[in-house]
């Protein structure tokens, strides 16, 4: 492990990598946990006008304190509007929400996500919490970004249950089942890599490795045949400015990092 790796932890790396994908003057559905920290960091760094959307009604909050729940007061702190779940998911259904941030227990090569069960649905080995807003975000937002740790148990050939639609079984599948045309998975941010999707096959593709991680390590921690871009970049490590703002302003009580 290089010197650079020793100055930040994997959670900080995930947060900083995800924050860089959040653009200014756009709209993004934000879930509990790492997406909240990434959104807060982005808002304080390069995206002061990032419009955060929290599914139970918070629209356009300024994140000064980290929310511990998707409906709590900080999700509509100094917000544009305090609305409700129907209004905000309908807003996504009408096409107004560009990005959606998601997590999951399992993901496959087409970006399909499982947050429902491990094992058989009717006799589950592990009953997970369920879709929550995940399916809605993955159905209606134009582009979804998944943030999760990468290993072979999570990056699987076939998810036990498709909770949230990725590209389903390949090109054209989303449109065939009636999902809005032009929507779908965009990026996967992990502790090992930044992954995207091949424009034609819609299969997951390695775009960049995290600092100090080799392409082989990424492939070894993927349970399916991962495509590799012709030129794999190295994702720059968290900058000192990112880490300072993350530690001193975003999560000063160290609830997550």
């Amino acid at each position: 492990m290089s010197d650079q790796n020793s100055v930040y932890n994997p959670t900080e790396l995930l947060i900083c990598s995800a924050a860089r994908l959040m653009e200014d003057n756009t709209t993004a559905f934000i879930g509990t946990g790492i997406p909240m920290l990434a959104a807060s960091l982005a808002q304080k760094m390069h995206a002061p006008n990032l419009v955060m959307v929290f599914e139970f009604g918070g629209f356009g909050a300024i994140l000064e304190q980290l929310p511990m729940a998707v409906g709590e007061e900080n999700t509509f702190h100094r917000a544009i509007a305090a609305s409700g779940i129907c209004d905000l998911v309908e807003t996504a259904q009408r096409g107004f929400i560009e990005y959606g941030f998601l997590g999951g227990a399992q993901i496959d090569r087409y970006g399909n996500l499982n947050t429902t069960v491990i094992g058989d649905y009717f006799h589950p080995k592990v009953r997970l919490p369920g879709s929550g807003g995940g399916n809605d975000v993955g159905s209606h937002c134009w582009q979804t970004i998944v943030i999760m740790r990468q290993d072979k148990r999570k990056f699987v050939e076939k998810v036990d249950f498709i909770t949230t639609p990725g590209y389903l079984d390949g090109p054209g599948a989303r449109e065939r089942v009636g999902l809005p045309p032009g929507t779908g998975p965009y990026r996967v941010v992990t502790n090992l890599a930044i992954l995207g999707y091949h424009p034609d096959s819609k299969r997951m593709i390695l775009l960049a490795t995290q600092p100090g991680i080799s392409i082989t390590e990424v492939l070894d921690n993927t349970g399916f045949d991962l495509l590799v871009a012709e030129q794999v970049q190295e994702n720059p490590p968290p900058s000192s400015a990112e880490l300072r703002i993350l530690r001193e302003e975003v999560d000063k009580d160290r609830l997550y990092i």
Binding site: G84, V89, D136, F161, G178
Partner: protein, 318 residues
């Protein structure tokens, strides 16, 4: 309309919209004093086997004093619309749930729910049908509209749809596949609000979650409120009234009614007690001990608040 796919999940509460109209017609439209205690409201309006729903959820504007009373009275074989964190975890831990229309039951930043795992993996929850968050809220919206279903573009192409009770049809206008989700009419809805008058006219501050939709989808509606205000205060700001009195069957005054959850602009959530639950919930024995300590061991919400203590409650105030 051509049905392209039918979810194989059980429709736990089939929507009888004509019976719902008859029910609503018979509800009193006069301004009646509906104030009562938690004990009386739950005794009178919740029955074993009822289909119930709560709003918003476990740590945010949650009807905890009502939920605690359901547990205290041991209302059993409940069928539940499941979007929850704390309150549904408590009802599950008490072993009162027979069927779930689930979208999310977990502990958010604290991870998966061990109570959900125990109850579903053991089969004690006999029926568990998955939906998305918005789908549950939209099912309430359909009931609130008085129609049997609503077309949406959630759930399409997924196992969430396959195992639900939704259907995919060919849209008669566009020809594209569209998901139809059935109206969900609750036997009992439980909603905690910032203020209400004695008739049940209720106002909420901050985000409204799915309160408006769920209130209108409930055959019987129990409102708990941080404070009961004079009818004149409601009339001064009628634009704030999200739940009008005629929807409401019982009004329960419950200061700190969302504790250990939060009530926006009034008090924050009680992180220490939430963590105590998270730790207790890991094992069935310790979960039962928590229920004994905070629910069975106290007679009512007043005693619960005395047990928590004024100093601690005051420390949560904004």
């Amino acid at each position: 309309m051509k049905v392209l796919q039918s979810g194989i999940g059980k429709l736990i509460q089939p929507p009888d919209i004509n019976a719902f109209r008859e029910w609503n017609r018979a509800k009193p439209k006069a301004l009646l004093d509906k104030r009562m205690s938690e004990a009386e409201a739950i005794e009178r309006f919740v029955r074993d086997g009822d289909y119930i729903g709560t709003e918003l959820y476990g740590t945010v504007r949650c009807p905890m004093s009502l939920v605690n009373e359901i547990v205290r009275q041991g209302k059993k074989d409940l069928r539940v619309a499941g979007q929850g964190v704390f309150e549904l975890d408590i009802i599950l831990a008490a072993g009162l749930v027979k069927a779930l229309d689930i979208t999310y039951i977990g502990l958010e930043v604290y991870g998966v729910s061990n109570n959900l795992r125990r109850e579903v993996e053991s089969g004690r929850v006999e029926t568990c049908v998955d939906w998305s968050n918005a789908s549950i809220a939209w099912r309430f919206k359909a009931a609130a509209m008085g129609v049997p279903f609503i077309p949406v573009r959630s759930m399409l192409g997924t196992d969430t749809l396959k195992y639900s009770a939704a259907k995919v049809v060919e849209c008669p206008f566009t020809g594209d596949p569209i998901c139809l989700i059935p109206a969900l009419i609750l036997d009992v809805g439980l909603i905690h609000v910032h203020r209400a008058d004695k008739y049940g006219n209720a106002q909420i501050d901050g985000i409204s979650g799915f309160a408006a939709e769920m209130a209108r989808a409930s055959k019987r509606l129990i409102i708990s409120t941080e404070k009961i205000v004079d009818n004149e205060e409601i009339r001064r700001r009628p634009d704030r009234t999200i739940i009008p009195y005629y929807l409401v069957d019982a009004v329960v005054e419950a200061p700190f009614g969302s504790h250990p959850g939060e009530m926006c602009y009034v008090y924050r959530r009680d992180e220490a007690q939430i963590k105590e639950w998270v730790e207790a919930a890991a094992q069935p024995e310790t979960a039962k001990q928590y229920l004994q300590k905070y629910i069975y061991g106290v007679k009512n919400h007043q005693e619960y608040l005395e047990f928590i203590g004024q100093d601690r409650l005051t420390s949560l105030l904004h």
